[in-house]
């Protein structure tokens, strides 16, 4: 329990402290330090959960499903902090951001981490909602950090779209509460997920159906499901790169996590009706559409960060599809995919940040021959893309292997769509990435001092996961699979 409290307190304290630290240098270091501490406590938490299945109390509940996401969040938070320290100083040095902006940046960075962790660990749907909305509020200022017209526009769209989406999610939550009150003895527990999950079968299916629609559209907006995804590429491309890394790496995961938690409730309540798999079917539909559409979007990109944000949409779609598919194999694959995707994608965004610095632009057409200019960056980008495109021996392949085989076992004809989608996406990525890394660099493209450590660590981990999944992690994932899909894989 104390581990949990610490894990939540640290970012809070950090946010408050950083709001007052004026020195950019110290802020960077402090941010880093807090991230380190958060990770340690998160690991401690993970160990505790491994000890005794579940940790619960005062609206919080940590089980196998969210604990690995907590650790992942803390970890990505740390590596991104490592990257962001020199990067943001570079930005600040170029006077793109005022020192005040830097204060906001660091404070909001921690606030964001806080909201993420709260959203993951809370057991209360209301608090979950509050946290996710808080995440929006925390990041929206960062998106407009550079104050360019594009940045402001992106921030506004992000704000309005996610605000509306989240509002709808709240309506769904209210409906759930409404349904809960009819069955629960103590109505105040009506938002406690664990209680609801216990009584899921009793919840009025009609209300839950409507509620789930609102929740899906609401949180789905944050997941970036087509056609509510439009904020995502804007926010990713205009915000500072560390922000893009954590958005793609964490926020989307958390939103999807919320969707899956709620799906579990709805499945419970719909089990008896004539449409038991409604939630799953909806998820599959949204997932497939997002996956295919995003894959096509990749072909028309001119901005490198936008491109990778679309690839994020594509992968979120894939996971959503897998969760909708249900069944232990697909669920395990989806959980694994969450993990490897956020590792790989944040690594890619870090690399992209360096690449953009090298070329002095985010426009794909003007980034050329990175391998020649700075082999480390060039190869990292290439390998990152190879990993995200689902080539072994990287972990993404393992999860996609599971997804595809699960698909062909339950919905064989959809696997054709997946096949086409993956091919299109692969083509879309490489047609843009190859010219950027290969070939002869243009004049005046200079190497920059880049800290590739986070990238190395992330890709290394992804590689490791592709070759062998450590027993502890496998145990977590499998217990989570048990929670979600109802049956274990191992």
């Amino acid at each position: 329990m104390s581990a949990l409290i610490l894990t939540l307190l640290l970012p809070l304290v950090g946010a408050l402290l950083l709001a007052f630290v004026t020195s950019v240098r110290w802020a960077g270091w402090l941010n880093l330090g807090i991230a380190v501490l958060t990770l340690t406590t998160a690991l401690w938490l993970g160990w505790e959960v491994a000890e005794h299945e579940v940790i619960a109390g005062l609206h919080f509940r940590v089980d196998a499903f969210n604990v690995y996401l907590v650790v992942l969040t803390a970890f990505v938070g740390l590596t991104t902090a490592i990257f962001s320290r020199p990067y943001m100083r570079h930005v600040c040095a170029n006077a793109r951001v005022t020192p005040a902006g830097m204060r906001i940046y660091h404070s909001m960075y921690q606030t964001f981490m806080l909201t993420m962790l709260v959203a993951l660990t809370t057991d209360n749907l209301g608090v979950l909602w509050v946290a996710v909305e808080g995440a929006t509020l925390a990041t929206v200022l960062l998106v407009s950090l550079y104050r360019t017209p594009e940045a402001v526009e992106a921030a506004w769209k992000y704000f309005i779209l996610c605000g509306v989406g989240i509002a709808l999610a709240l309506f769904g939550t209210v409906l759930t509460y409404f349904a809960a009150q009819q069955v629960l003895a103590d109505p105040t527990e009506g938002l406690t997920w664990s209680v609801l999950h216990a009584h899921a079968a009793a919840l009025d299916p009609t209300v839950m159906r409507i509620a789930f629609v609102f929740l899906l559209v609401g949180y789905g907006t944050k997941v970036g499901l087509v056609p509510m995804h439009q904020w995502l590429p804007d926010a990713h491309s205009e915000g500072p790169t560390p922000m893009s890394a954590v958005l793609s790496g964490l926020l989307l995961n958390v939103a999807l996590y919320a969707v899956v938690r709620l799906k579990m409730l709805v499945d419970g309540s719909l089990a008896a009706t004539d449409t038991p798999h409604l939630a799953g079917a909806l998820l599959m539909g949204f997932g497939l559409i997002s996956f295919l559409v995003a894959g096509l979007f990749l072909h028309r990109q001119r901005d490198i960060k936008r491109m990778f944000s679309y690839s994020s949409i594509e992968h979120m779609g894939l996971m959503t599809f897998a969760f909708g598919l249900g069944g232990p194999l697909a669920t395990f694959g989806a959980l694994l995919h969450m993990l490897v995707h956020s590792l790989t994608k944040s690594a890619i965004f870090v690399t992209v940040g360096h690449a953009a610095h090298i070329a002095g632009t985010q426009s794909i057409d003007r980034i050329r021959g990175l391998i020649r200019t700075q082999p480390a960056v060039g190869w990292s980008l290439l390998l990152g893309v190879v990993a995200i495109a689902g080539f072994p021996p990287f972990g993404v392949f393992a999860s996609e292997f599971l997804l595809l085989t699960a698909t062909i076992q339950t919905q064989p004809w959809l696997s054709a769509a997946l096949l086409g989608g993956l091919a299109v996406a692969c083509a879309g990525l490489f047609r843009h990435v190859q010219p950027m890394v290969y070939g002869t660099p243009p004049e005046g493209q200079q190497p920059v001092e880049a800290n590739m450590l986070p990238v190395m660590v992330h890709l290394g981990l992804v590689l490791w996961l592709g070759l062998a999944i450590p027993a502890l992690l496998a145990g977590w994932l499998d217990r989570a699979t048990g929670l979600i899909a109802g049956s274990h894989l191992l």
Partner: protein, 228 residues
């Protein structure tokens, strides 16, 4: 069961709900910003009233508090902030020309019917009353969303957003006799922060495109052809 058989309080509730709905129609078609803000304030006040009524009916104490909260936040604080913003943005005289006002209100009516149709299947006899309120609040939410779609003026969009929130409050209070306090506070806090941020963004937007017409925020798009 018909209205007549309901106790007076519930009839009163339905009346208030109806008024809320009416106000969001007003919001939707109101072209003058200040007037719209006032309408919004009234809506907030009505929500507060509803909360109070439910509190009296259900003797639930924390609802008194949330009624107060709603009143302060929705009927006073936020309208006041909007007022200030509008004045600082020198938009008092601003009136917006809706493209197809008649069409929009027709759509709104359709939305009301639709939301009722959606909620009808909730069949639990003793719930009919709350069910209808849910229908109303759903309508309010949808109309708020419609307002976001229809209005191209940033402040008006914010109003639409806020009236969505109102719809949510209405649902929360009337259908479920109030959310847990934690959540209420959290939501209120979020709304407040959101409002502040909106304020910030008004100025940022005006600095970047020296207007608050969101249709002119169209730099970020995939549709235009490559200029290579």
């Amino acid at each position: 069961m018909s209205l007549a058989q309901l106790p007076l309080l519930e009839q009163f509730l339905l009346l208030q709900a109806a008024l809320v709905l009416f106000l969001s129609f007003g919001l939707l078609s109101q072209t003058r910003l200040l007037a719209a803000i006032h309408a919004f304030a009234w809506q907030g006040a009505l929500i507060a009233a509803v909360t109070l009524t439910v509190a009296i009916a259900g003797h639930s104490h924390h609802l008194y508090f949330s009624a107060l909260l709603t009143l302060v936040l929705k009927a006073m604080l936020i309208p006041w902030m909007l007022h200030r913003l509008v004045r600082r943005l020198a938009l008092e005289r601003h009136t917006e020309t809706l493209s197809h006002p008649a069409l929009v209100s027709m759509v709104a009516v359709a939305l009301v019917i639709f939301s009722y149709w959606v909620v009808v299947p909730i069949v639990a006899e003793e719930l009919t009353f709350t069910r209808n309120i849910v229908a109303v609040s759903l309508a309010v939410v949808l109309i708020g969303l419609l307002m976001l779609v229809a209005r191209q003026q940033a402040v008006a969009q914010v109003l639409g957003f806020m009236s969505m929130e109102n719809g949510l409050f209405l649902a929360a209070v009337s259908a479920t006799a109030g959310m847990p306090l934690v959540v209420e506070l959290g939501v209120a806090f979020d709304v407040l922060v959101a409002m502040v941020l909106f304020g910030v963004f008004f100025f940022q937007i005006r600095d970047s495109i020296d207007s608050l017409d969101v249709d002119r925020l169209n730099r970020l798009t995939e549709t235009e052809e490559e200029t290579a």
